[in-house]
Amino acid sequence: MIEHQSLFLALAVTLFFIGAAGAVVRRNAIIVFMCIEIMLGGVNLAFLTFTRTTQNLDGAFMVMCIMAVAAVEAAVGLAIFFLLYRKTGSIDLEKFNLLKW
C-alpha cells in the first residue's frame, strides 16, 4: 500500500483544507470545533504516512500527542462553550468579539 503514498498525502491535505474552510466560515462554535478536529485528522494522516514511508516511529508518537491534545482541547473548549452559553444564551461566534484588549 505504500506505493499509494501520494494518495494518502493528498487526502491529508484535502482533509486539512476542508477543515480549515469550515473553521473559518461556520458560525456555530461546535461545528467550528469539529472542523478543527477534521484538520487534526488530516495532520495525523500525514504523520502516519511519513511514519510508514520513512520507517520511523517519531510520527506515530507525534500522533499520540496530538490525540491527547485533541482530547484536552475538547474538554476545555467545550467547557468554554458551556460557560459562554450560560452567560449569553448563544454560541454563535459572530456574536462574540471578546478577544480584544
Partner: protein, 171 residues
C-alpha cells in the same frame, strides 16, 4: 487490486463525510457525520498497516471526543439559528486563502518524493514481526519519556481546567 479499490472508496467516503460535517446546518447531523468521518479515517489508517493507530482513532475520536461533543450539544439544546454573516469580507478572505493554499500544498507534495528513500529504525520486517505496539512502547518509554510525561501533565491540567471553567459559581 481489490485493496486499492477499497482504499479509493474509503478515501472518497472520508472526504464526503468531512465535507458534510462542514456544510450541514443541523448541529446534531453534523456531529453524526463527524463520527462517520472518524471511523473512515481509521479505515484509511488500516491501509497503512497501523492497526494500533486506527484503534486509537476510533477510541479517542469516535469514542471520547465525539461523545463529548454530542453530550454538549444535548446539554446546550442548540437550535439552528439563521442570521446575517457579519464577517463576510474576512471569511471571503479566508476562503480565498484556502483556495490558494490547497493547490500550493499539493504542489509541494509533488516535490517531496525524495523522502521515501529514507530508512528509519523500524523496518517493515520488524513491524510485521512484532506489531507496532511493542515498537511504539519501546520508543515511548525510552527516547520520548519526557514528552510522554509532559503530555500526561497536560491532560491533568486540561481536566482541572475544564472542571474549573464549567463549574457553577455562586455569585
Amino acid at each position: 487490486m481489490l485493496e486499492s479499490m477499497l482504499l479509493y472508496l474509503a478515501a472518497a467516503l472520508t472526504l464526503v463525510t468531512s465535507v458534510m460535517v462542514a456544510v450541514t446546518r443541523n448541529t446534531v447531523h453534523s456531529a453524526l457525520w463527524m463520527v462517520a468521518s472518524c471511523f473512515l479515517l481509521a479505515v484509511v489508517f488500516l491501509f497503512l498497516r497501523l492497526q494500533f493507530m486506527a484503534a486509537l482513532q476510533v477510541i479517542i475520536y469516535a469514542g471520547a471526543v465525539m461523545m463529548f461533543i454530542i453530550f454538549a450539544i444535548m446539554m446546550l439544546n442548540l437550535r439552528v439559528n439563521p442570521g446575517r454573516i457579519q464577517l463576510r469580507s474576512t471569511k471571503t478572505a479566508g476562503l480565498v486563502l484556502v483556495l490558494f493554499l490547497f493547490p500550493a500544498l499539493l504542489l509541494l507534495l509533488g516535490m517531496g518524493r525524495g523522502i521515501a528513500a529514507l530508512q528509519g529504525q523500524v523496518s517493515l520486517r520488524a513491524l510485521e514481526q512484532f506489531g507496532e505496539v511493542p515498537l511504539l512502547a519501546n520508543v515511548m518509554f525510552s527516547d520520548y519519556l519526557l514528552p510522554f510525561e509532559l503530555v500526561s501533565i497536560l491532560l491533568t491540567v486540561g481536566v482541572i481546567g475544564a472542571v474549573a471553567l464549567a463549574k457553577k459559581r455562586k455569585d
